[in-house]
């Protein structure tokens, strides 16, 4: 039985996790970057080394705006924020880009057509996979209040090379296997990699001198994991039966 908590204010769980993300990364010296939710094809795809008619485009189901020939869309990731930031700022760069993104896909308990993404970008000299690993371990440890390690597996995203999938050691069982990690000890949580030289160059950064890492993950998924929310769609219903629990 719940206690009667009266008419007190509540902050939405997505905001709570975004707040944690912003705090953790600000403390680590990252700036928070933002950008428009309506984007151009150029910033959402072309500058990110995802050419039209490339099978890789299938990875992002896209909402297009009318008229189609204007080539405007709802951003499918916050990567355009990274590109715009790189165009406007010189390295060293340390930013996160949290924000709302859209995917044209059927919705169910784990898929929404709108959700929040957290992306991060670091550009400097000699930025490595080892730095990426360290940064993410710091982040997950602070977010879940538990020492955790990350595991990298090969993956492919056109805007990074090498590309990796990030699994975090299960914060609930610590790697022994439980219902949260489906018995595997790890939770698939992020895509990441070292920024592709083409992406650096298209933003006016000398890829001979600078390198960087980038990562991206779903904030909604972090909310679901952290608080045990079982259906992502509940986050957008304005339903106090959910929100008042926070």
């Amino acid at each position: 039985m719940e206690k009667n908590d009266g008419n007190s204010g509540h902050i939405h769980p997505l905001t709570l996790v975004l707040k944690d993300i912003n705090r953790i990364f600000t403390e680590m010296g990252f700036s928070i970057a933002g950008g428009p939710e309506i984007e151009t094809e150029f910033y959402n795809f072309d500058t990110l080394n995802i050419p039209e008619h490339h099978p890789a485009r299938d990875m992002w189901d896209t909402f297009w705006l009318k008229p189609l020939n204007a080539r405007k869309l709802l951003r499918t990731h916050t990567s355009p924020v990274q590109v715009r930031f790189m165009e406007a700022n010189k390295p060293p760069i340390k930013i996160i880009a949290p924000g709302k993104v859209f995917r044209h896909e059927a919705t169910d308990a784990t898929h929404e057509a709108q959700f929040y993404q957290l992306e991060g970008l670091v550009v400097g000299e000699n930025i490595s996979i080892a730095n990426l690993k360290w940064t993410l371990e710091e982040f997950f440890e602070k977010l879940f209040n538990k020492k955790t390690s990350v595991r990298l597996r090969p993956s492919y995203f056109p805007f990074v090379e090498p590309g990796v999938e990030i699994d975090m050691q299960c914060f609930k069982c610590g790697g022994d296997g439980c219902n949260v990690c489906k018995g595997t000890g790890y939770i698939e949580i992020m895509g990441a990699g070292l920024v592709h030289p083409k992406v650096l160059e298209s933003s006016g950064i000398d890829s001979k001198k600078y390198s960087g890492f980038a990562f991206g993950c779903g904030v909604d998924r972090l909310v679901m994991l952290k608080y045990g929310v079982d259906d992502v769609r509940l986050l957008y219903q304005g339903d106090l039966r959910l929100i008042n629990q926070f």
Binding site: I11, L16, K19, Q114, P154, L240
Partner: protein
């Protein structure tokens, strides 16, 4: 791609370890594994091949070779190319830029047999139906080596004046029609490519063969076709016709023309074995003889990208395991890219090949030491500042959908007709949320609804960050909702030392642009909501029940000297798990007695509660209260 474990072994000299070991090794060094299914004494491993390796890995040989790279196993030698005579019985003309290599092989006097068991088994492992030995062979070799191929019935191909079978690979004519193997008629145009004879299209190139020119039981002579097509052209055609085949899937992922060389000896071997046909000869056009490419990467770069030092010997040996030849030249590794490895183009690609075989798990985390200029985000700042004030005033933050049935910005491809616009305001979603949540007051244990939302709205001129506020009270509270909102806005202005200007308030809902307010704030680096502390609260979400809740009230007079806590504990003793909320909603004293009124809310997670189940709590509550000296149920 679903690969058969037994089939993989055919290309590997060493004995493969257990399927689970193979799957784990691929997972950590190459590709994700979707699942392993045991089937007829075999294991079918579903490998999620990454888009950049679809060039060379969309086949059993491709995956087997990758396993050899990862587990350091020895590959079996493949058959090498046999000499096959050039025939003058076929004329080949390519007039499109989208076909870079084409081979036709004429085989006479074939018998169209049923496939032998081993071949049927191979196809079954791929979920592919056996048709006849010739068609089955073309499919088998596609799954084996990744090079699609097709067999034409030579008798259906037109013959020119010189008595040659006539083939034209060309862009289709606008309005040209063709019936494909699926039995459907397709209209094609000049953006599609066809393999045609002198009079008609026989095949939509790279996608599907024509119904009329396929191999049947009456076929005497066949012409086998192996091609290399432009990936974009095939992708557009397959998309336009709505057909996805094993062939189109491979062509659109760009396969190397060199795969033809790999499969050709097997084509010649199996066509003879399976059809007893006589190979007359072949014709070939190859406009795409790939030159050997070299990519070099400095050892410094390998170390600085991975964040650990790897010796040149180790780099070379890790590449060698992948059949990638490399040498040390000065301080750099120079790689000769195998023709099928279209993914290896730049030095970073080589670093990936070294890194993933070396194993990312062997890279230790290294602190990020890099100072960059801190820039404050004013959108985040204003949002958090507003949240902090409103949260403190008892307002609850909601998030609603950006899609709406009204607005100014239209979507080209909405998910549903009533979601075809982007919202132009937050007020609509606010009104709906106020209504909906008002029904849950008892369940939530609140007696009013105060909501706010911060989010983007979309207008013809652009997108704007808005704040909306809404309140709804029961009539009994006798509060003017618009005045309440006005008061709230005033408090917000005073707390943040800003002015939001004229805001229209209708039915307890107000909305305004945060843009102008942002300029008045002077953000500092401490984001305001950082102070909204949840760290000491262990929040665990309880799933919302989909079933209705029921409300029951009980009011009782008790002697003044009996405390509220005593009354409450008497009631609580009778609770079951179905009582989800309990609160006192009224209290007054009359002479030497005090009346307490309590509200109980009942709900189950798995069903609608019956009257009996509710009474199973309420009756004992009444009984126990009645039994107390001086108590009287009202």
């Amino acid at each position: 791609m679903k690969v058969s474990y037994k089939w993989l072994q055919e290309y590997i000299e060493d004995k493969l370890p257990e399927p689970k070991v193979v799957a784990d090794a691929l997972t950590m060094h190459s590709f994700e594994i979707e699942e392993i299914v045991e089937k007829d004494g075999d294991s079918i491993i579903d490998v999620k091949i990454l888009p950049n390796r679809a060039h060379d890995c969309l086949s059993h040989y491709g995956i087997a070779s990758e396993i050899c790279s990862v587990l350091n196993l020895k590959r079996k030698d493949l058959l090498t190319e046999e000499n096959i005579p050039i025939t003058d019985k076929i004329s080949l003309n390519i007039s499109t830029k989208n076909c870079s290599r084409q081979i036709f092989i004429l085989v006479n006097d074939v018998k169209v047999n049923e496939s032998p068991e081993w071949l049927k088994e191979k196809l079954a492992s791929q979920g592919s139906r056996s048709i006849n030995a010739i068609v089955d062979m073309t499919n088998y070799l596609t799954f084996a080596f990744g090079q699609p191929m097709h067999a034409f019935d030579a008798g259906k191909v037109s013959v020119n004046k010189k008595g040659q079978y006539e083939f034209n690979i060309r862009d289709a004519n606008n309005g040209e029609k063709i019936t494909l193997l699926d039995g459907k008629v397709y209209e094609i145009d000049s953006t599609n490519m066809v393999i045609a004879d002198g009079t008609k299209a026989l095949d939509v190139a790279g996608v599907m063969g024509g119904k009329d020119s396929g191999v049947t039981n009456d076929t005497k002579n066949i012409i086998l076709s192996l091609s290399c097509f432009d990936p974009v052209s095939i992708r557009k055609t397959a998309k336009k016709l709505g057909i996805r085949t094993d062939a189109s899937h491979r062509f659109e992922n760009e396969i190397s023309e060199s795969l033809i060389n790999r499969v050709l000896p097997y084509v010649l071997k199996y066509i003879t074995e399976l059809s007893s046909g006589v190979i007359v000869g072949m014709v070939e056009v190859n406009n795409n003889q790939r030159k050997e490419t070299k990519v070099s990467v400095s050892l410094d770069k390998v170390s600085s990208m991975l964040g650990l030092s790897v010796s040149s010997e180790e780099c070379i040996s890790l590449l060698e395991r992948q059949n990638i030849k490399s040498v040390l030249s000065g301080d750099s590794i120079v790689v000769t890219v195998p023709p099928e490895r279209l993914d290896v183009k730049i030095s970073e690609d080589v670093v990936e090949e070294i890194g993933r075989l070396f194993g990312y798990k062997n890279i230790s985390p290294a602190p990020l030491i890099l100072d960059a200029k801190l820039i404050i985000n004013s959108d985040v700042y204003i949002g958090d500042a507003v949240r902090k004030v409103l949260g403190g005033l008892g307002f609850i933050e909601i998030y609603t959908y950006a899609f709406s049935n009204k607005g100014e910005v239209l979507l080209e491809n909405p998910l549903a007709l009533d979601k075809s616009y982007l919202r132009s305001n937050l007020a609509l979603g606010m009104e709906e949320s106020l209504e909906r949540n008002f029904k849950y007051l008892d369940l939530l244990g609140i007696d009013e609804v105060r909501l706010f939302e911060i989010g983007k709205v979309f207008k013809n001129k652009g997108e704007y960050l808005h704040l909306s506020l809404g309140v709804k009270f029961p009539k009994s509270k006798k509060i003017n909702v618009d005045e309440e909102i006005a008061k709230t806005i005033q408090t917000l202005e005073e707390s943040l030392n800003i002015s939001v200007g004229d805001v229209s308030i209708v039915g307890g809902v107000a909305e305004f642009d945060l843009e102008r307010v942002k300029k008045e704030l002077n953000p500092i680096f401490e984001y305001p909501l950082g102070l909204w502390d949840t760290s000491n609260k262990q929040i665990k979400y309880n799933p919302i029940s989909a079933y209705p809740f029921a409300v029951r009230d009980v009011a009782v007079f008790v002697p003044n000297e009996v405390s509220r806590e005593v009354v409450e504990s008497l009631i609580k003793e009778k609770f079951t798990d179905y009582v989800v909320r309990f609160s006192m909603f009224d209290k007054f004293t009359k002479e030497n007695r005090t009346s307490y009124a309590f509200r109980l809310v009942f709900q189950a997670n798995d069903r609608t509660l019956t009257e009996d189940e509710i009474n199973a709590v309420m009756s004992p509550v009444y009984e126990t209260l009645k039994a107390q000296a001086g108590f009287e149920i009202r």
